[in-house]
């Protein structure tokens, strides 16, 4: 089955330009982790700061464009992986090893239509 792993973290710890030591260290961890995943990883990337986000909202069919992310919360969507594994237990095992700050979350979602 194919799953999307959605990584939520408090992006402030990485600094606005993602060039802080914490950001560099995390990036190196993700590179190593991706290598370890090998063929299990179909795709994946970090995302730029949520200040770079633009959101299109639809209300009663009318679309408006907004600056900023969809959800204002302490943790933001910080990156994703797309993986191919046998079942949820395998996905959980992969998701557990995603490099993550002290406080954060990885949401595991099966793809409706696999790639």
């Amino acid at each position: 089955m194919q799953y999307m792993l959605l990584i939520y973290e408090d992006e402030r710890i990485y600094g606005p330009d993602r060039e802080s030591p914490a950001a560099r260290e995390r990036r190196a961890q993700h590179v190593a982790y991706s290598r370890e995943l090998g063929a299990t990883r179909l795709a994946g990337s970090g995302l730029k700061d949520s200040t770079a986000a633009t959101t299109i909202r639809a209300a009663a069919g009318k679309q408006t464009i907004h600056d900023g992310p969809f959800a204002e919360s302490r943790e933001q969507l910080a990156g994703y992986y797309l993986i191919d594994v046998t079942d949820l237990d395998a996905a959980i095992a992969v998701a557990r090893k995603v490099p993550l700050s002290q406080n954060g979350a990885v949401e595991i979602r099966p793809l409706l239509v696999p790639l």
Partner: protein, 408 residues
């Protein structure tokens, strides 16, 4: 065969057959529906031709055939549905008539108690699929409207199917977490049965299921101390059931129960389970809990002094491995008997009330201690708080008597 006898056959066969089909076809709904179809066929055929020699095997064969038919039909209907292709099951010969039903109940228990399943649905799903209880019976046991519970079951089954929950028993390295989820689920399910001291309510009929399920779990995972401990706990507790209420239906506290009324063979069985657990891991939380039950069940007669100091020692041990409000509360009860009211009151008052506010035993224990300390007005308030939460008539009668005694 009477319809009651048929019901019993269906229920006894249900867990094994649904488990076998679910792990073969990796589809809970298909397994349940096929079993239901087989039961309907049985009613029709058995009334005409009489029941077969091995009713369970007949039901399994029929249910298996129904499942294969449904599965083939779905395959042609959704030829290109990707998830069906992914799950493509190799066609296999029908099980021969002498084939025993494979026991896949352990797998099914792990599926129902997967951490990805909502905690409030795990116990209900286990009772439904592994124990074969009806939605109505479970709804009554959990004091929920039937549609609410049915909805919860549907949501849980859909989650299992869509999230790709595995139908495998997890790898041993995942057991500490996964097995604990299973045992906690059984604790919740059994808690419902145990609360009903008189055994007259809707929970009673599954106390027997809990004896069975804990036995199965212990036999299937014989190297885990806590599975044996869980089996011991349920047995000790069930053994005391005949002594838990008096002739008027009022609850009798453990220390006042007549050990002569306890079920000796069940206690012996419990002790065998506990012995196995102790050899494996004597300090595991559930092993210590079972040891506390064992200490009580070692009492031979009401004239023997209650084993309070042994109980307190065990609670001290338990506190080292499981420090929570409930353990502290139970320890305080023993503390009162061994070291006096003041020590127990201090232990109770140090507990933070909010998480315990809705916990009846907290108010009942507090009320008793306040009463024994001569603080009758406060005791009355605590009894009122307990009475506001009481769910069974046996407990209500007892609390009302205690409260009435305050004014004398």
């Amino acid at each position: 065969m009477t319809s009651a006898a048929l019901g019993l056959v269906f229920r006894e066969a249900s867990g094994r057959i649904v488990a076998a089909l679910a792990s073969r076809f990796r589809d809970l709904d298909l397994a349940e529906d096929s079993f239901a179809d087989a039961c309907a066929r049985a009613l029709e055929v058995w009334s005409r031709e009489g029941p077969p020699r091995d009713a369970a095997a007949w039901l399994y064969q029929t249910a298996y055939r129904c499942a294969v038919d449904t599965w083939r039909r779905r395959k042609t209907e959704h030829r290109f549905a990707p998830e069906l292709q992914r799950n493509a099951i190799e066609e296999q010969a029908m099980p021969a008539e002498w084939t025993p039903i494979p026991d896949e109940r352990l797998r099914l228990i792990f599926v129902c108690c997967h951490p990805a399943v909502a905690p409030d649905a795990r116990a209900a799903l286990t009772l439904r699929l592994v124990c074969g209880l009806s939605t109505r019976e479970i709804a009554r046991a959990f004091l929920l409207p039937e549609p609410t519970l049915a909805q919860r079951l549907i949501r849980a089954k859909r989650k299992i199917a869509e999230a790709g929950v595995s139908f495998e028993v997890p790898e041993p390295e995942a057991w500490p977490e996964r097995l604990d989820a299973v045992l906690s689920t059984i604790e919740i399910a059994y808690g419902r049965a145990h609360e009903d001291a008189a055994g007259s309510g809707p929970h009673f009929n599954y106390a027997a299921e809990m004896l069975e399920i804990t036995r199965v779990l212990a036999e299937l995972l014989p190297h885990e101390a806590e599975t044996w401990a869980m089996a011991a706990i349920v047995r000790f507790a069930e053994a005391r059931r005949p002594a838990r209420v008096d002739a008027r239906g009022m609850m009798i506290p453990l220390a006042d129960q007549d050990p002569g009324a306890w079920v000796e063979p069940l206690i012996a069985d419990a002790r065998r389970c506990l012995d196995r657990a102790v050899v494996l891991q004597p300090r595991a939380p559930r092993v210590l809990q079972a040891s506390i039950h064992a200490a009580w069940c070692a009492r031979r007669a009401l004239t023997d002094p209650p084993p309070w100091s042994r109980i307190l020692t065990l609670y001290d041990e338990l506190l080292k491995v499981r420090d929570d409000c409930i353990v502290r509360l139970n320890r305080a009860v023993a503390l009162a008997e061994v070291h006096g009211i003041a020590a127990a009151s201090a232990a109770i008052e140090s507990l933070t009330a909010p998480p315990l506010d809705d916990f009846l035993p907290y108010h009942a224990v507090r009320a008793d201690l306040l009463c024994r300390a001569g603080r009758y007005d406060e005791a009355r308030i605590a009894y009122d708080a307990a009475l506001a939460l009481v769910a069974t008539s046996a407990e209500r009668l007892w609390l009302e008597r205690q409260r009435a005694a305050l004014t004398e």
